[in-house]
Subunit: 567 residues, 2 copies
């Protein structure tokens, strides 16, 4: 392709609201343009990269035995009503009516459509298992679209669905997709972690999220640098040992009331008493489906609502009101476990072993010092209901856990029978007995992968494409397009390389060399070849975008050189 | 691919409302399934064929110098309001609101989006011409979706848009797309005609429709079997010679009133007088933007409203009311040109040379016989405002025109400046003068092409795929899957063929041979190979779906045989 003709409007400056590096670079390099909030057009170079990702996805899905199909974006409302999601999904689901007043959803995901299709087409165990996938445009009306392709409202997704007759079958289908995802993200050049995630209220069991590591990521990953353990913050667990810390090191005094006027937060309290937050036990008063519960957790840590709901076996948790706290015999801001006999106590394992802690005194403007958990709080139920904190160690190998930010690029999920039961997708086994199919679902945000790749592969000058995704492998620059010899040699190189199967963008524009070099760095194809001063000697200049150094090469060695770089 | 695992639910019977052969066959062969009226899922085999068409489209568009990009389906209403189409498009345009109450259209076509993008990104003549295309899902809420993929509400389209600085530039861009379309439809195995079409009120000039010939087609094509002339009925012109017909052969009597009580239609009149409709001149009273006009046309022919509007230079035509006809001095059912001096007469060329015609007498229950057009009607303005009729001859070569039915699979259109002016897409020329870009637009109904291919390539047993589109090239059948020798030889053949790059579907199902043979004919891949009785002799049976005859082949000759068939 000759660049003179290419629709590739590069920019020096980008709109101030482009926060993510990938967003800025995709705008600057002329890969995408915004049409409306969270809705983008792909210009030629952006689409090429997107297509390369699609090719990798297809190859690995096919290799894993999944079959490609294509479903519509317009979904009749009846299907979503049958699954119950028409009401649950909320304003993220875009809805419209056709000319006859029939309601439709714009597909945010395709469980309803595929399950209905399979229900009609597969009736016997003989046609199971089957895994189907599509690469298709999805619609989600995000409350706050941002970061360019990282959180859009119209985006490209690969979604797959497996149908099995047994849970062990589902395990195998799930593992096949898991392995395919590892291959896909590896081939895309992503640094990623497959993290354990919470299966939430959807009724599934196992679930993993594939997280591309990046500071701009909206998810926090907890991982062990020594072993393979990784989970997202909602799911991660760690081990806390309070032994030998300041909260366990002092002689055991008796609980003592201390006047703390107007001191109601952990931060205020630790400053007022000049102690570490780790020495404070936070007492959080909640209501779990009507019943009050006091959750005890170390002062520096946060309650993980998802874990708490699971531990309590409830779907909703609210905070107790001030009046409800008073009814328990306490007062907001000064709640504590000592002497609160009428209410259920739940202790996070983070308070285990504390023997010199501060708690609320259930009395306005007072706390209790020198509380020994074991001595003063009696028999406690210990549970894990916290977000893992700094300094916790790995439950598998004991080494200290690390934290990272991640972009969710993929998700594998054991759905079970939620959709097959609500939509009636059953099969007959060998004995003619009807059973619901056991399903899994598997998603990759294809357009989000593109942004994540750029997020991980860039520097201050521009994008640094991995070979497999680069819109073009080689950027051929002619320094002086009015110099006939340079153009002739460029043409020869262009023909040689394209005939050998390399994709080449030839910068034949009448621009100053500085502009061309800057654009080449911005566009970031793996190899830049410059035809310039030494044309008469048939010597060109090479620059590998990732390494950065510039070296000369005789044209006769070019093909061998490219083979060593790209094969 | 092994068929046992393939999601390919074939059917013996199809729903009664599937009228078109392609619709019936796509359902029976398990290529598509309907989700809602005019909205379909592509099952694995259907998608493969669709992807083969996409590949052909991409290759030919790229070869023609067009650049691929991808635009969203969600269009902000403002763009459609700016072009004026928000109001004009009517209920075919699907509309919705996002969570903030902002209005969107689901893209029925992308002139607004691409023109706005180009307006922002191209400002100089140096970046012109450029042609951009996408393969993308379109939405049109058809009043009456039917014929499966032939008229759907969600469908796959290739749409392209060219931007030029001059009309001669547009001519070249248009011709490049025209030629690419010829290549695309030829490679898809379609019998088609590029027909002249009417550019209508969109303000364009040249336009051609690509029509796949098929009886189920909703358009009528007029074409010359001797030369290349072809046009759709709205645009077609022919030559009528009335010389030597019954309406010109009699001696010239004077006009004579004849009593024709209650005889008001051409059919009644020709029966009443026992003459041919060709001997009658129909006088049609219309109102063109307020002004009455009497259109004279031979009795056997129909007025073409589009031609008439163009001749009169008006956008709307209505019929005159009975009162308005009386005000002209005539009466409905008996209008005639003789003595109607107060109104404009417009004569279709079909009445030229008639000298023994019957016309209305402008008096209830009376007609005039023996009217000589030249003698009795004075100076007439002759125009072509009719649909071409049976027996007309080609304006180019004089041979008799033929009629056919067609499916519109492509459309090329010179848009001019309609969108660039309304949306402000201008460029600066060498002198810094700002001009609107000159646009063309070019569409292919990709999913409709798939249906049209099947419409043309099928028999009573099933589909007969052209090689380039077939989901698989080769269908390998194992007659007895429980026979180990047959399975071993089948496996060997499968490996040999797939290694050589052929796509093979291996029917390894435990089904009766009759079922397998019927399914193979229904699925219609070009070559069927059957491993059966002569396995021990390494002899297999071949059947080319298009030819139909069955012959034997030694496995050792298989690759050579496939090369001769497919290369």
């Amino acid at each position: 392709m000759r660049q003179q003709r290419l629709l590739n409007p590069t920019l020096r400056d980008v709109p101030g609201d482009a926060e993510a590096a990938s967003h800025r670079l995709m705008l600057r390099a002329g890969l995408i343009r915004q049409l409306s909030s969270g809705i983008y057009s792909y210009l030629p170079l952006g689409l090429k990269a997107l297509q390369h990702i699609q090719t990798i996805v297809r190859e690995e899905m096919d290799r894993a035995g999944a079959q490609e199909m294509l479903m519509p974006a317009l979904h009749p409302a009846e299907l979503w009503k049958a699954s119950g999601r028409w009401d649950v999904y909320g304003p993220e689901l875009m809805r419209l009516e056709d000319r006859n007043g029939r309601e439709f959803a714009l597909g945010a995901t395709h469980e309803e459509v595929i399950t209905t299709l399979i229900k009609d087409e597969i009736h016997s165990y003989k046609k199971l298992p089957v895994t189907l996938y599509q690469i298709q445009t999805k619609y989600r009306d995000e409350r706050r679209p941002r970061f360019g392709l990282l959180r859009g409202r119209e985006f490209l997704m690969k979604d797959a669905y497996s149908f099995d007759r047994s849970t062990s079958g589902l395990d195998a289908s799930y593992q096949a997709m898991f392995d395919a995802y590892v291959n896909i993200f590896t081939r895309c050049g992503l640094q990623f972690r497959a993290v354990e995630a919470d299966s939430g209220a959807i009724g599934g069991t196992d679930t993993h999220e594939f997280m591309a590591l990046a500071d701009v990521g909206e998810d926090t990953i907890v991982h062990c640098p020594s072993c393979q353990y990784a989970a997202n913050l909602e799911k991660a667990t760690g081990v806390i040992t309070n032994e030998g810390t300041s909260s366990t090191g002092l002689p055991q005094a008796q609980p003592t009331k201390i006047h703390t006027p107007g001191v109601t937060s952990i931060k205020q309290l630790s400053q007022f008493l000049t102690i570490e937050p780790q020495q404070i036990i936070k007492s959080v008063a909640i209501k779990a489906e009507g019943a009050p519960v006091i959750v005890l957790i170390r002062g520096d840590l946060e309650i993980n609502e998802i874990k708490l709901k699971q531990v309590l076996g409830v779907a909703e948790i609210t905070m107790l009101s001030e009046a409800e706290i008073q009814a328990l015999g306490s007062i907001a801001g000064f709640i504590g476990p000592v002497g609160l006999s009428s209410v259920k106590l739940l202790a996070d394992t983070s308070i285990q072993g504390l023997n010199n802690a501060v708690v609320g005194a259930n009395e306005a403007d007072y706390h209790l010092q020198h509380v020994d958990v074991q001595r003063d709080l009696g028999e406690l139920t210990y549970v894990d209901v916290r977000n893992v904190g700094q300094g916790e160690s790995c439950i598998h190998c004991g080494n200290e856990l690390a934290f990272a930010r991640g972009i969710e690029v993929g998700h594998v999920f054991k759905l079970g029978t939620k959709y097959s039961e609500s939509l009636g997708a059953t099969f007959s086994d060998e004995n003619g007995v009807s059973e619901p199919m056991i399903m899994g679902c598997y998603g990759i945000g294809v357009s989000r992968v593109l942004a994540a790749v750029i997020e991980q592969h860039q520097d201050e000058r521009g994008i640094i494409w991995p070979n497999a995704i680069a819109p073009y492998s080689i950027h051929l620059l002619t320094v002086q397009v009015k110099d006939e010899a340079q153009m002739t040699l460029s043409e020869e190189i262009y023909q040689t390389l394209t005939s050998a199967g390399y994709s080449v963008l030839w910068d034949d524009r009448e621009e100053r060399p500085g502009v061309k070099f800057n654009d080449a760095d911005l566009l970031g194809f793996p190899l830049r070849l410059t035809v310039g001063k030494k044309t008469s000697e048939r010597i060109i200049e090479c620059k590998e975008r990732r390494q950065g150094e510039v070296y000369e090469l005789n044209v006769e060695q070019l093909l061998t050189h490219c083979q060593s770089l790209f094969n």
